[in-house]
Amino acid sequence: MKKIINGIKRYPFIIVLVIILLFFTPFALFSPGESRRRAIVIAIGLDKLEEEYEISFLTFIPKPNQEFEQSNSVVSGKGSSVSEAILDAQLTLGKDIGLSHAKTTVVNEKMLEEDVSSSLDYLSRVISLPENTVFVCTNTSAKQLLMATDSLEKNLGLKLDQLISYNANDVYITDTSLEAFYKGYYSPHKSSIIGFIEHVKEESSGGGQSQGSSGSQEAQSGGQSGGEQAGSSNAGSSGGGSAVASSSGQETSEAGGEQSEKQRGSLQGQSEILNKADAILLREGKKVAKLDVDNLNSINLLSEKHSLDSITVENVKCECGKTVDMTFLLKNKQVAIQTDFQNGVPLFIANVSIGVQLTEIDTKGQEIKQNAQSTKISDEIASKLEMKIRSEFAQMLKILRDCKADVMNVYANFFKNDRKKFENFLSSLDDREDYLNHITFMLNMKIRQDG
């Protein structure tokens, strides 16, 4: 004993090693590993039903194979709160949920009728969920969108988050992540933009037939309450003209009794994901408007990063004197924002110089021998182009003013340049949040021919 104590005194590290070997190693030796213990969630869907929440997870199901194919499955749970719904989903899965790899969070449009931040509260507190998870909205249910997502990946090799990231980088020119949502939510104007992905269901003629379900997983937990496990399946080709991908989803879970049967019916049939690059304008977490691509292009008129905008000017005379429709690509934008006060009225001046490139001429059946690239932009074309851009900008401004949603950084620009005057101006208003309606916008445009 004395020898042992002396040994420990000389090498106290031995105690540490013994503690590790006694208390930690045995558990670790027989631990199955995190990837087997947890369900790895790739996307989260949050729906508000009548009186409860339904949370759906697009999870990755490991399969012992050498092909390393990703096979996914949608699992959902219900509860009066989001955390209860998650617990319900965990019960169905028999595994803990791992949110670290969740790249997308989808909510349905219905949730945006009320302040969505209260529903997202749980997700914002979960530290394992990365803040840069893409946050989007869909028209039907988030669960169905997730099911359709799987086929999107199988058919086009495209992930939902990649699709939204493309929109965010080239169309919205703003991040559409949870973090970006909160940034807008906590800003003085309380407004933010989130992406919108349309989900279309078509009536199926096949009734209850399933068309293969490579990613589905039969849930054996018949008696478990509420939990559902839906298999997404590969439907082969995409549906209509603008469809990105389609799938025929089938509910494979037998859990949930009658309600499950009802949902099974509603889920059968072709469903498609439509990416029109629309977005939802939120104020105080509530939907105030739906913005289409033109609206977004107008908002991004003041962004130099934005380059994916084309405008068609109708009935203009080309060099040969004939009336045609011309389409231009707006590129190489140079934007300078100024703010000023004239007689106490704030002036928001945007000096925009746009390089335009003629990309297409619709000759309307006339015979015109002209090279599109050599066509010069006449003053008439330029003024028509300017008019069109201005009118679209005005339309968008009206929407923003009506919604009191400042997603063009007007507040930030005034705050940066004339903080005191702007503060005075705001305090002079009856409604401080309605400042957009009291600001005069001046758009100085210069159109030049590029390329």
Partner: protein, 362 residues
Amino acid sequence: MKTISARQTGIIVFLTILANKILVLPSILYKNSKADSIFVMLALFFIEFLILLVFLKLKKNYPNQTFLSILQKKLGKIIAKTIIFVFLVFFLFKTMLTYSVLFVYLKDLVYQDEFGFLALICLIPVINHATIIGLRSMSRTFEMFYYLVVVGIVFCLAIAFFTDISTPILFVSPVSSLFASAWQGLFAFGDYLVLFIFIDRITIKKGEAKKVMLFALVGVIFVLAIFTIFYSKYQLTSFMHNNALADLLVFSVQFNAIGRLDIIAMLTIMTLGLFQLEIFLTAFCDCFVMVFSKLSIKYATAVFDILFLVIYLVLIAKYEVMISLATSILPYLAIVASYLLPILFYALSFKHKREVKDEENH
């Protein structure tokens, strides 16, 4: 006497400057003073810099004496030991705060689970061992890892800087909230005090004081850069992010697509945390040995372990309690240890100078 070089001293200063400031502090200060917390930090760093100058002056005047002997000579045994005891308590809580900040980071972002016992077994033996083998071996390790730590921090900052950043909105907080922030952040400062404890083991040759100041400056620049980039990146949601340096990497869609780069932040923060704990524990143990001169450093580490277990696990237990202590009660201790006492030391260095002059004249 196993002494450390000016470069190693500088690296210790650099590491302690980063302690407790790069994870939770930016979000705590943001709640009060928004992005203007950068100015609060700047002001506190300025005062800290003065403390560094006091240390350098004291070192110049008492080149080879221990801290205790300097104090004993001028103030008598009892007062000297009382002052050392204040430092002992200061470093005990400093170690605890550093531990709990690191612990919460690890729990939330690295382990995502409860892992209290695991953290204890990983951290405590290593810092005990480092303290026992001595300051010189420890500072050699810091010297080896210095560039890795610097590269890790620069990497996090660079990634954050080059992905979607906007200027932070400054001058929005009233002066009162700046003071409130300064009070909350006070206990995270007082880093140069370790140098007073190690004074006899530090060798600063003529002209090398600049080297120490340069390292201190690099540390300050890093902390301010982290604050600035963090506030620029997160702006209004800064209060939601409790792990500043790590979170800088997370919010960048483009880079996340490549893979998880947070591993760089993880390794940097873990290494930094361990080193800071080693420094503070060594300072605590040295104070302990100075107060209880008959006991060895091994006993000091054992006493720390017991105190740590009792105070931290039984009394404090929760991270929130530790943070609220650090932002409400412990600043009083910080005021005494890191502001009042250095003024006293400054006076001592003057007194010494006058005495030397008198002796020369005599």
